[in-house]
Symmetry: C2
Subunit: 331 residues, 2 copies
Amino acid sequence: MHSRPDADDPRLAELSEGRILRSILSRTTPGAHTLLGPGDDAAVIAAPSGSVVATTDTLVHGPDFRLAWSSGHDLGWKAAAVNLADVAAMGARPTALLVALAVPRDLRLSFVERLADGFRDACAALAPGCAVVGGDLTVSDVLTVAVTALGDLEGRPPVTRAGARPGDVVAVAGELGHAAHGLAVLFGRFRDGDAPIPVDPSLLGPGESAAVAAQLRPSPPIGLGVVAAAVGATAMMDVSDGLALDARRMADASGVTIALERAELGDFPERALAGGEDHALLASFPDGILPPGFRAIGTVRERADENLLCDDLPVDVSGWDPYRDWDSVAG
Amino acid sequence: MHSRPDADDPRLAELSEGRILRSILSRTTPGAHTLLGPGDDAAVIAAPSGSVVATTDTLVHGPDFRLAWSSGHDLGWKAAAVNLADVAAMGARPTALLVALAVPRDLRLSFVERLADGFRDACAALAPGCAVVGGDLTVSDVLTVAVTALGDLEGRPPVTRAGARPGDVVAVAGELGHAAHGLAVLFGRFRDGDAPIPVDPSLLGPGESAAVAAQLRPSPPIGLGVVAAAVGATAMMDVSDGLALDARRMADASGVTIALERAELGDFPERALAGGEDHALLASFPDGILPPGFRAIGTVRERADENLLCDDLPVDVSGWDPYRDWDSVAG
């Protein structure tokens, strides 16, 4: 699929918008909640419980991904996954995605086709029943993928960040720190000067392969959002900026202190605390409740001076984001 | 408000994402349908009729707007209006907007504040009860505004493009051709070489002022979408690519021929047929039904060789989009 000759793989500038859209939409499959799919002014999606959960998140070439590292399929998959995670973090079941693509004219059609495949495959793997129901295609010098995800609460109230109560167990589902580890591997080993170069899998150890995959093709535990809500999670959120920063946000929203146990944070606790883009689910549960897929990492306490503790000590993690300090580099 | 000194108006690069978001969100007001607004992983919006209408449309600096011509307020207003029009065209009442901004670092905070004001003011004027419920902020060299609009059908079926029946009246609400006229004025009179320059209102005649406003700050008849649906519109769509092209789309989707009457297309029928970005509502109604705000412009016939006629003659309009052929120009 990467060996398609260029003669059979036109640049987008050579094609009409209608032709490109047909190619994308032929790759999407209707979802269980799709009442009216692509092709009209708007889509119609079932919202059986009388409300809809909605979130939007954008990936921009440069700050958020590099084409030297991410295939079209990777990019579509990741753009779906990060948005699905935000829906899951409310305790909702994802029902639909809308995809706004802004694409350079010299991009090949096959890239956009793989991008569409990535969206479809991520929905099938992470959120069965969810599908791309609509989108928009525009031209831009900077490849930009803006996604909106919708979800249904199935009659439950949304699980916000603000409901953690003293005595609750703090738990997490999904990996912590792997995506940041993967990004460090990419920045450390797959650059020629400042320019990113394609990943050579033969140069990766087994842990590194998993970490790079977590960065480029994350698989957050989307289905566990509904599970957590159904058993009574008091608060929940997507861990996108590192456990330390996101746990502080939950503590502040709930007016509590979150006390983590370092021994529960895996073999690399500093990486787990600092690492971004995990898209794990962080949740609090009433004491005694811990659904399958979640592991306890701490407890909720009455609010103290510090909003976050680890082994009863203040946590000093500034986080780490090499993209942020790495501007205007081709790749 | 445009005289704010630069010292009080920092560039976005000098501010944290949290600071910028607070500034934007302080300008949004909760909508009547907002169950949970910005600040959590996702918003929750009422969908009382058990389904939700959803559409997305993006404005990219260069192909879709130029900062020399559009203020921040204009840009927010237009990004809201074009998405609200797609919701209205389904016969739905707009309930919420999600706004994904990708912004250059050197943009001033005041620009983003005016953008947020534009969103708020467009909702208040065009779709009362609709509000910005969430968003995303990323960095990009190309200013990009990707909007998703949601709406509620209030128990009615969606009005698609596919329901026009022979014998129906074809009608339109809103202006035709003004936005394209405005764009022609901008391209013809407010450029220095290839670079756009600010509009000097004193150089515009009365008709030209209205046309430039229709291009930069369109006011589609959003509320008439619900009105049309309630009286039984058989088909409806947003006229975004010119009446000729969009009427052909409705004719093809419905399997009919649409016969327009030139005398009903105003003083500049060619402009009405070709002009894009009107965001008027094109609808078909059973004979004898024409709700206030709509004017008849033709009839629906059994499908013939031509999908579109005007005074019984084929229509040859290629459309006109100077942006499309005007790349890589600063401004």
